[in-house]
Amino acid sequence: MSIIKISDDALARAGGADAIAAAFAKKGHEVHRTSSWGMQWLEPLVEIDGKGFGPATLVDVDAILDGSSDKAIGVIADHPFIKGQQRLTFARAGKTRPLSLEDYEATGGWSGLRRARQIGPEQIVAEVLESGLRGRGGAGFPTGIKWKTVLGAQVGQKYIVCNADEGDSATFADRMVMEGDPFALIEGMAIAGEAVGATQGYIYCRSEYPDAIRKLNAALKLCAGIIAPFTCEVRVGAGAYVCGEETSLLNSLEGKRGEVRAKPPLPALEGFMGRPTVVNNVLSLAAVPHILMEGGAKAYADYGMGRSKGTMPVQLAGNIKHGGLYEVAFGISLDELVNDIGGGTASGRPVKAVQVGGPLGAYIHPDQFDIPFDYEAFAAADALIGHAGITVFDDTADMGSMARFAMEFCAAESCGKCTPCRIGSVRGTEILDRIRAGRDSGVARERDRLELAPQMHNTTKNVARSVEEEITLLADLCETMKFGSLCALGGFTPYPVTSALRHWPEDFTDNTEAVAKALDAAK
């Protein structure tokens, strides 16, 4: 009897994969719980002899077994969604059992670490530099340079910290690595330890990922002997979005409030407990074992475009027909990702906007869908790749409320250390409320008691602000937040706000000309 593969990824499990797996087992079949292929609209996906059936439910079990199921999608590896990808970090996705050392070893596991131990620190750093790997967490800082800095620091104890606080909406690639291929992440960390001379690692995982935490802990137990003398521990976050920022994460790890630290000093020199620390995202570290294989660095650098080398695990999410994980070389256009691969919206309505890079990423209009996926190209278009999550919205989305949500989210999650973020986000919410209230009621807001006070020299006393004045004020506030905030939370919140304003002014006010005028004047 053939082996049946069903993912034990959190998304598949949320879709009922456990019950389906149990049903197959009850019928006497051997069931392997593997990682997920990443075709999430088909989860729970049942695989028999390479052929897939999904999204499966309990009633489909008999039909799948006798070959009459209408959920058949054919050979999974030949599916266009899988075939078009260049899977390096996710090479094992869908194929191996996450906690099987045997499966990991059989698919090239630990060979990067073994080779790293032979070639020594300088050569490891040189190869990571050669690969062109840039931090996958969002900032895109070259990983090799970070490692070189830590290697050069002449201090005893050093640390490897894995940032697994994947808080951005529309991102789940870190979760899929931790749940689907935990040994790859651990191997990447052990290699980093080898490279910089660190023997202790920490994985800071958010508390919203119970499955990932459980699997990482189990994986660490299983491979403790292999990675020794390197040791690693999982630490669990406590629901603070800002702890995804590296210095805030370090404070949290030390048991403090997750407040952002001013840089310098760089964490590479004074990080966890004031010691030199490598802080890397899950995807950056999970890419390392592949790079460290014989010839891996060059092979990695051959993918991509410009200064964006290698592949990016893109996450297609929100209102999209074919949502999931799509690892591909840099350079692919948004149009291909959203319309060709993603199949447009799940609701079948026209695409209105996509947000790339999580809550802090710009809203991109379909007119701009020709932008190639590349750090520099996105920056030039006033947008960011971030962690490469793409949220698709259909034409029912109200961009005014999304812009307000961006400010509201920033206010809720601000660590409170710097003023532009802490106060600016609250004021931003208020301005957006005023602009939008003016549209609905047609009446401008009355001045409040505070604004009428004689001490408030810069408020107009007699008439309420016009839409144009409100937008000018908002643009000015965004400018202050962008350049005055300590970290990306306050600094990037203006991106979704101003991009929504610029492209969809009609969702804010009837006086759309005033918006364009005020935004241009502010530029």
Binding site: L11, E233, A240, A317, N319
Partner: protein, 142 residues
């Protein structure tokens, strides 16, 4: 010694040799008692040689730590961008209606199930592709 002191003492002893032991301790205390209240903060502060203000500062910073226990069952509903794009705002009213005073509906930002939202979490169980009916059922069964 009260049972609270004994139990928290055990938790502190388990973690105290760690580098940065406070968060693991707070997680365990939250898990054990459903909250980290002023009394617990006092015991933890004494155990780690910190001031109560320092401990309170940390407890109040993080959403996961509650100042008082809430006996109601909790349904965490994601209301971040991706779930908004998939229509959580249209059905959150149904969840709140079904919850009434009996169930606590908590907003979370992202459960990492962003292509299959609206998503929710009860305990360690996750739920995807929720609609008006299924979210109502989820809350009623919580």
């Amino acid at each position: 010694m009260s049972t609270l002191e004994l139990k928290i003492g055990e938790i502190i002893a388990e973690h105290r040799t760690k580098e940065g032991p406070l968060l693991p301790i707070l997680h365990d205390v939250q898990h054990e008692f459903g909250c980290v209240d002023a009394e617990a903060e006092k015991i933890i502060a004494a155990g780690l040689n910190l001031s109560r203000a320092e401990v309170h500062g940390v407890v109040s910073f993080y959403h996961d730590f509650k100042p008082a226990a809430d006996p109601r069952p909790v349904v965490q509903v994601c209301r971040a961008e991706a779930c908004k794009a998939r229509g959580i705002e249209a059905i959150i009213g149904d969840a709140e209606k079904a919850a009434g005073e009996r169930v606590k509906i908590e907003t979370v930002y992202c459960l990492g199930l962003c292509s299959a939202g609206p998503a929710a979490r009860t305990g360690d169980d996750l739920h995807i592709r929720l609609d008006s009916q299924s979210i109502t059922r989820l809350v009623e069964e919580a």
